[in-house]
Amino acid sequence: MITVVGAGPAGLAAALSAANAGESVELIESGARLGGQYWRNLPNSIVVDQQALNHDFQSGKVLREKVQAHPNITVLLNTQVWRASHEEGISILHTISGGTTREIRTNKLILATGAYDRTLPFPGWDIPGVMTPGGVQALLKGNNVKAGKKIVIAGTGPFLLPVATGLAKYGVDVVGLFEANRLRRWIWQLPALLNNISAIKEGASYLHTLRKFKVRVQRGYAVVEAHSGSDGNLSAVTVARVKSDFSVIEGSQRKVVCDVAAIGWGFTADLSLAGNLGLMQQVSLLDGGTYVVVDEHQGTSQAGIFAAGEITGIGGSKLSLAEGEIAGSAAAGSETNTSKKRKLAKFASALLRTYPVGPNWQSWLKPETTICRCEEVTLEIIEKSVLDLGATDSRTVKLFTRCGMGMCQGRICGRSVNDVVARISGKPASDADRVSSAARPIASPILLGELAQIPIVD
């Protein structure tokens, strides 16, 4: 029996390839539908042309149907793994589904828990109406709801294009599309980028559609402040021209009126379970994110545990699929073919180099800017804990200020706190510090009542 956690592109591909190799597979997914972040689909009660929102909708539908129909695969939806551990080659997964808890023991586990939008703190980012591009996309693709009427899309990365295109097609006024990085970075990476012509064509088709809606990508601009109106909601953002290190070019600031600003800086891997299971992780030189270390066949540092998709490095749905397929075959003990993965990985690395996050985003912060949203910890408080109380790493800052100790367990602020503390203390964040900010005792805070019913043996 092979257990797969996560039913995004990576998990679906892994389940299918393991099942095709003759293994029986249990696929666990916390969401209500298969597909993950990429193939997010509408409930049957809403009938619209989903192909229009995702050019790749059909291939997702085919894959989902194959997984659902496969005699070797059992699909467990609405089932969250809230904690995991690993002893002597056996992984123990604690799941919760509709108030019922279960313990699954497996000697072959494939983790494919994906990623979420990377965000950066800036003045006003906690005003209702400031969102992530992924969140806005999820509202549209999963609920048929437009997040706002006048939307600004900003941040960096190729993902901004499909989000802006989807919104424009659905009649939303995309009042600005601001990409912080400049075009010349493309030219520097051109040879590697030309590795993947179909992805380049996809990007070009988004640009073409956006032109039809009179939306232009403004490169070298960033949203550096958000403003609220009298009702407390977002009313405008300040956009500025930024240098390649993301410092603001003085005098370039202007206000753009909007009711939603979707701002994302790439993605951050969800390493909650990977951390629980003690999988070796490392900080990527490409984007500074922390990822699960895997070998060529997606094997991790723990025997019998494989990892695939965005948790092993950000690379998009095609790479996630390729990695999932390899992980499934490897877990089943069959031959793997890694040539496709290698080619896609090269392209993914080039993209990450094209869309870096400049260190001087920190110059946008004000003393009163919230850094940890959950515990409402401001920059000023963090500064005090370093300068007056002598904290020199994020872990100590966390203990002094509670930043990163709220409900999200540091998922949103963890990475930024590493950077902020490093700047204030003048001491770069160590890899150990970064890996520890991605670790959390439980994968999801579950209801205390439910927790009380579970005997915890540690």
């Binding site: 009660s45 809403i46 906690d126 992924g134 409402e376 409900m407």
Partner: protein, 80 residues
């Protein structure tokens, strides 16, 4: 179907999340924060940030962006 937010009737389609249905009805502020009383709404939209937490049928700290609406559901924001 119909559910209630702070006792106001809200119309939604089955399968939509509480957060998306509220947004469709122009409700963006879901709660106020514990310390500053600052308004908060959906941020990440996929269950990661916990900014959208509301009380649903008396159960606190439910993520509005994940929980799907049910007929007659009673949703309350965190009021100071």
């Amino acid at each position: 179907m119909i559910f209630f937010f702070e006792n106001n009737e809200i119309h939604a389609i089955a399968g939509q999340t509480v957060g998306s249905a509220l947004l469709e009805n122009n409700v963006r502020v879901l709660r106020r924060t514990r310390f500053e009383g600052a308004p908060r709404g959906m941020f990440c939209g996929i269950g990661v940030c916990f900014d959208c937490v509301v009380t649903i049928n008396g159960v606190a700290n439910q993520r509005a962006c994940l929980v799907e609406v049910e007929e007659g559901m009673r949703v309350e924001g965190f009021q100071r």
